[in-house]
Amino acid sequence: MGNDQHLVQLKDIIKTYLPEDVPVGAIGEDSNFVKELNINSANLVDIVLDVEDAFGIRLENEDMDKMQTVRDALNIIAQKLRDKK
């Protein structure tokens, strides 16, 4: 499963938590969760928990601190999936 597929899955998770004034089309790889997508810290935790379930991985506090943008999230997902093998 490539990175593009991960992005599709991740977008699908994120869109549930987008505020009403942010369109789904606004989600790009460079998007900052808090500053650009207006996702609050409580919903960012929900996103992480959904990502864990969807990809069968577990994130730690350090991963959460590093997860500023959609690309950061994709890198963490890819890394965790590699570690799993």
Partner: protein, 149 residues
């Protein structure tokens, strides 16, 4: 580890917005506490005109103070050795109200942890009256984290 009564002292609320009298039990997964609504609570004057009933938002607040904040303080202090200051914020509430609560009633709140991760605590809460009838129930979540560096 904190002694049960120390938890109430650490709460960031005071009169007229403190809705915790006592913590009966606390563990890593659950908490139980109670509160007696006084005859002259500030909101009874206006809710309702000449017919005092405890507002649902206040019942929710009582559930949140016991079920989220008190439990959160306990969890923070068992996780970290440092027992400094902390910040709290309610992030979501979904409640159902089944029975009215009148002045001078004592309610018991039971809360069980659904998860506590990345500073977000999500709990299932239930409030009972003195007749052990379910008054309200729901799911609450909030952020709680140490603010000392």
């Amino acid at each position: 580890m904190l002694i049960i009564n120390d938890i109430i002292e650490k709460l960031p609320y005071t009169n007229p917005f403190l809705f915790v009298d006592k913590i009966n039990m606390v563990s890593a997964d659950a908490i139980e506490g109670c509160y007696s609504f006084k005859k002259d609570e500030f909101f009874y004057k206006g809710h309702f005109k000449e017919h005092p009933v405890t507002p649902g938002v206040i019942l929710t607040e009582c559930c949140a103070q016991i079920g989220l904040v008190c439990l959160g303080i306990h969890l923070l202090n068992t996780e970290e050795l440092n027992t400094g200051n902390f910040q709290v914020a309610l992030s979501s509430s979904e409640m159902q109200f089944l029975l009215p609560v009148f002045p001078q009633e004592t309610v018991t709140v039971r809360s069980s942890k659904l998860f506590f991760r990345f500073n977000k605590l999500k709990c299932e809460v239930k409030m009972y009256n003195q007749q052990a009838q379910l008054v309200c129930k729901g799911v609450l979540s909030g952020m709680i984290k140490s603010s000392n560096i």
